[in-house]
Symmetry: C2
Subunit: 342 residues, 2 copies
């Protein structure tokens, strides 16, 4: 089959790779209908994670089940499925508490790379959720977002306790931040301010339900937010970047007793204990337990209650993966979808 | 009046100081029935907060109202009151959300020092809570704990979401940690493990409701805890020290999706973002909004449902404050009570 590898930082290639097969009786193999490039894929692409060599890429996916192992009960060949980027058994104590991304048997689906024609999904019963049927092409992008970026934005909004009567600040105007806006709106938040200085992202944020756009960053942005909110910080903040600056901006944007939901993959972040202490905020986040939200998100997408697929502003055949990475790296695209059968 | 000052690090003196008086119409002046030395007083005593000169000490207090300003409505002369170490208006949006220690008008009561015969309490209406009557001498120590150390342990347990069916790890065997044990037990926690290697503190922890004592520290302590709990971390951890080691021990003691309640005053703590990210814990704490819990805590103490005053294992006249500090600094005492009329 054909699949994307990061040959070296900045050098994305599409290669012939071995077809995935059932290894464990709990595995499934799916034919990938669509995959995409994640903001977190840009870290190794930019060399931030050190040397790489021909690393298979991609951890977001939707597709049709081709084959299942002997112990798989919940999905069957022919079904269209969405899965989380973390495989989980969905039965352990941690999973049952809703933290499937920290399942005691968790495996990174991305280890074998879903930017490919086929993918092996471990722990299929606990990881994959079947859609009500085979979706029309127009629903595929939205279902694909549920695999990570929507589930992650949703988790951030839930962790930030976005809800009725609450104000929400969103740090990060990438796909996760934008879908954090959508989630906060669906969860009933009253006012949603996003920090952004990119016209295309501002526009989408407003369409997803943002009420305010703040172009200022850092402490200047925080001051502007507090002006908007009558002097206090927001009840909730969504952190969707993963840098020291974004984390501190999220904490400082939040009032005492408020909640910061952080999902940006932390890079070189050191949270100063004294500032956190006096901030009085709740801090919660990490790799999103997307599996917790999948049934609900698939249902909303299927019923066309939400249209998260709009974060894809670039769609390319799998063979053009290099351009997809480049466009996202240069911020020409918010998020790029890859079609193996493109 | 007589009052304690920190003349310089390590040098506690009792001096003649000016009698406090009503400055603002929202003030009260109380005759201090009992004050005490806080673990946080040891930081400046040990020189950890830089140079000091004749700094008035103490922020924990119970006493009888002597005089109130013209605008004070909720307490009156002759009443026996307990107050928080942060004065708060108890009417602003932050207070109403239960975060009185971050009140928009918050003032540190400790600025004028309650280890003294009298103390001025700002924002008396929002800060002081009257006991049902004038307590017998045996209830005074317990009521005094409500002013900070019990309220702080209680907040830590609430922030850690200690409750029925949950396991709790307690990092720190000082008075706050010990009262965190008591709080977790009262809140219904199933199993409470405290890290401690001091026989006197272990004993009190067990009496307060701890089910397990772990003498190991750091990662060795965490491993021992997980052994006790069948492999996973605790649902809840209480951090009651404020160092890098204690904070990381609390985070590592907690399972994904669990809750860390931290109340140790953070000194030189830097929380690594990547480890926090993958821990999947909830982190909440800071200066305890003691005022939130005061009515409930006073009621429990008055009804002798709890006996938190047992953390005082040294009681001295105010004039002997220097010895009280020394005994706590050398860990000869868990917590020292000072009686102005001793």
């Amino acid at each position: 089959m054909r699949g994307v590898v990061l040959h070296a930082p900045g050098d994305v290639r599409v290669r012939d790779r071995e077809d995935p097969r059932i290894v464990e009786p709990t595995d499934a193999v799916i034919r990938v209908a669509a995959a995409c490039v994640c903001g977190s894929d840009l870290w190794p692409y930019r060399g931030a994670n050190g040397p790489v060599h021909d690393r298979p890429m991609g951890h977001e996916y939707v597709g049709v089940v081709e084959q299942v192992g002997d112990e798989v009960r919940n999905v069957k060949p022919g079904e269209f499925v969405v899965g989380s980027f973390f495989a989980s058994d969905n039965t352990c104590e941690i999973c049952r508490a809703g933290y499937q991304s920290r399942c005691v048997n968790a495996q990174l689906v991305g280890a074998s790379g879903t930017q490919a024609e086929y993918a092996r999904i471990p722990l299929a019963d606990g990881t994959l959720v079947a859609a009500p049927g085979v979706p029309g092409a127009d629903l595929v992008p939205s279902l694909l977002t549920a695999s990570d970026v929507l589930g992650t934005g949703w988790f951030a909004a839930v962790a930030a306790e976005a809800g009725p009567g609450r104000t929400v600040a969103v740090v990060g105007d990438g796909a996760v931040g934008l879908l954090g806006v959508l989630a906060a709106r669906r969860l009933g938040a009253e006012r949603i301010a996003i920090f952004s200085r990119h016209a295309d992202r501002q526009k989408l944020a407003l369409e997803f339900g943002a009420t305010d756009v703040i172009p200022e960053r850092g402490d200047e942005g925080v001051a502007r937010l507090k002006d908007l909110l009558g002097g206090l910080g927001a009840h909730s903040a969504i952190e969707a970047v993963g840098t020291q600056e974004s984390m501190m901006q999220a904490i400082r944007s939040t009032r005492a007793g408020g909640h910061v939901g952080y999902v940006g993959m932390a890079h070189d972040v050191r949270i100063p204990g004294d500032e956190l202490f006096y901030s009085g905020v709740h801090l919660h986040g990490g790799p999103a337990p997307v599996r917790r939200f999948l049934p609900e998100l698939i249902q909303m997408i299927w019923g066309r209650a939400i249209d998260p697929g709009r974060v894809f502003d670039l769609e390319l055949p799998l063979e053009d993966a290099a351009e997809a990475y480049k466009a996202m790296d240069e911020r020409r695209a918010i998020k790029a979808l890859l079609r193996p059968e493109g």
